[in-house]
Amino acid sequence: MRKTILEVKDLHYAYGNGKPALNGVSVNIHEGERIAVMGANGSGKSTFFLNLNGVFTPDRGEIVYRDTPVNKKNLNELRKNIGIVFQDADNQIIASTVLAEVGFGPMNLKLPKAEVLERVDEALEYMNILDFKDRAPHYLSGGEKKRVSIADIIAMRSEIIIFDEPMAALDPINASMLEEVLSKLGSEGKTMLISTHDVDFAYRWAERVLVFCQGKIIADGTPLEIFLNNEILRQANLKQPTLLEFYDLLVEKRILEDEEIYPKSMREFNEIL
């Protein structure tokens, strides 16, 4: 059994207008997990993330990080170890050069300048944007900004990285580049939470899926368990991944025998055929 990093217990959070955004969320996150967070727009995913990171203080409930309950005093410890890549890079990028931008997090950790520079270089190299260093974020394209915003978090060396809809507004090339980065991070044992509406991506990438609906987690399981459960899909405004639909269709038409070995990629699908 993998070690638990984060324990979330009965989290409640309501925005200023009194409408509850989180309504009793409990979940445990373990080391090295690849988690896809799904659910309709406004189901509480982003609010959940901002609570995890300590930006929002929950109305009720508790977050336990590595066996220590989070309170006001050790809040920075939590923020240091849980990084969020925001959906809109323009809401995240604050500095006027890429160097200063990626260095913003490490500078806030009060690290010595030499180490900050080393981390920035490492993060930029990781995202393959070392030559962007002196450029201004306002002259970068959407895909390039996204890479900078990911380098931001890599430079902080946080244990858990949260991506809020990272695929939104990326072209297919940039999206597949992002997927490569995600699998690279995964192979290095980073724990990742990704909110996404892309069922195909969640199906092939994640090892665990959390489904949010009206501020609650209504399902928590492997992608197969979730995507074969029509009731959950209907409740959460989701649909089946194309590959699963295909598989079902082929079984239904008796082209394929139902051995319940569901393919995860086109290659696996090809092997079955």
Binding site: V55, D90, L117, Y139
Partner: protein, 298 residues
């Protein structure tokens, strides 16, 4: 956009076309229907753009800020046409030859201050009178517009002086991105609150400009500017909307900053660029030369 010759990286970046939304937006800003006054509207951006791509950008920013300011002060204090001419030539050399800015772009940027200078100096160069006095006069129906050689000479010298001052500051603006100028101010102990505000405002200028361009385009596509009255309504709505969105964005920004351990103290990483002793020596020699010229000619 004119192709700057020595900037292959930027060029390839620009050529990516559709992908580079941001750059395109700024171009649209200059050329779209609401900006027909020429390049004046985009000018602020193009200066910023050239500053980021200047070949002397890697020079120490403190040096690049102090030197032009010193030159500016000398130019005003010495008040000598020869000194002014030398300054104009030296600053053009630094910006165009050293900085790699195309001459065409340099002239186009300088043409704006020149227009202002010439118009305002005209008022100094001429006088009006009821009598036909002065060396040269021109009858205008109600009275005479008159001038003299001395006045023209004085106006000419004034143009040179102002132009030299402007080109010194343009040399700074065209080689030092605003973020670096702000960091120089920070080192000069300008109050922290002002420096932080400058940093955030600078970043926000681009975000809000993009926003307004997008809103304008979408209003345009829905006939939002079909006549004067509608245009006024649209303008008001866009202005109001920008206020609301900027407040929202400020919140989102704050969340994102907090998520990265921001604790009330805005510190940015700056790469230390060493002061080149040779440059300082040359700058000192240049200033000494200015004094010499002044000594010989006045």
């Amino acid at each position: 956009m004119h192709e700057p010759s020595g900037l292959p990286m930027i060029l390839s970046f620009l050529r990516k076309g559709s992908e580079t939304e941001n750059v395109n937006n700024h171009d649209n800003g200059t050329n779209s229907i609401h900006h027909k006054i020429g390049h004046k509207h985009g000018e602020g951006f193009s200066i910023d753009f050239y500053a980021y791509n200047s070949r002397i950008r890697n020079w120490n920013s403190g040096f690049k800020v102090l030197f032009p300011i010193l030159v500016l002060i000398l130019c005003t204090v010495l008040d000598n046409p020869y000194v002014s001419t030398v300054i104009i030539a030296a600053m053009a050399y630094l910006t165009v030859i050293k900085g790699g800015l195309p001459v065409h772009e340099y002239l186009s940027i300088m043409s704006i201050p020149i227009t202002f200078i010439v118009i305002s100096v005209f008022a100094i160069a001429v006088d009006f009178s009821k009598q036909p006095v002065g060396q040269y006069n021109l009858y205008l129906g109600l009275g005479y517009m008159l001038t003299s050689q001395a006045m023209i000479k004085r106006a000419g010298f004034l143009i040179l002086k102002v132009f030299a001052a402007v080109s010194a500051l343009q040399m700074m603006a065209l080689s030092t991105p605003s973020s670096e100028i702000i960091s120089v101010l920070e080192k000069a102990h300008v109050p922290k609150i002002i420096v932080e505000l400058m940093n955030i405002i600078y970043r926000y200028i681009f975000i809000l400009t993009d926003l307004s361009i997008n809103m304008k385009n979408s209003a345009e596509s829905r006939q939002g500017y079909c006549d004067f009255k509608t245009s006024c309504y649209t303008f008001g709505n866009i202005a109001g909307n920008i206020l609301v969105i900027s407040l929202k964005k400020a919140n989102a920004y704050y969340d994102a900053m907090e998520a990265r351990c921001y604790d009330g103290d805005l510190v940015f990483l700056q790469e230390d660029k060493r002061v080149d002793r040779m440059q300082v020596a040359l700058a000192a020699a240049f200033i000494a030369a200015l004094f010499l010229i002044w000594g010989f000619t006045s």
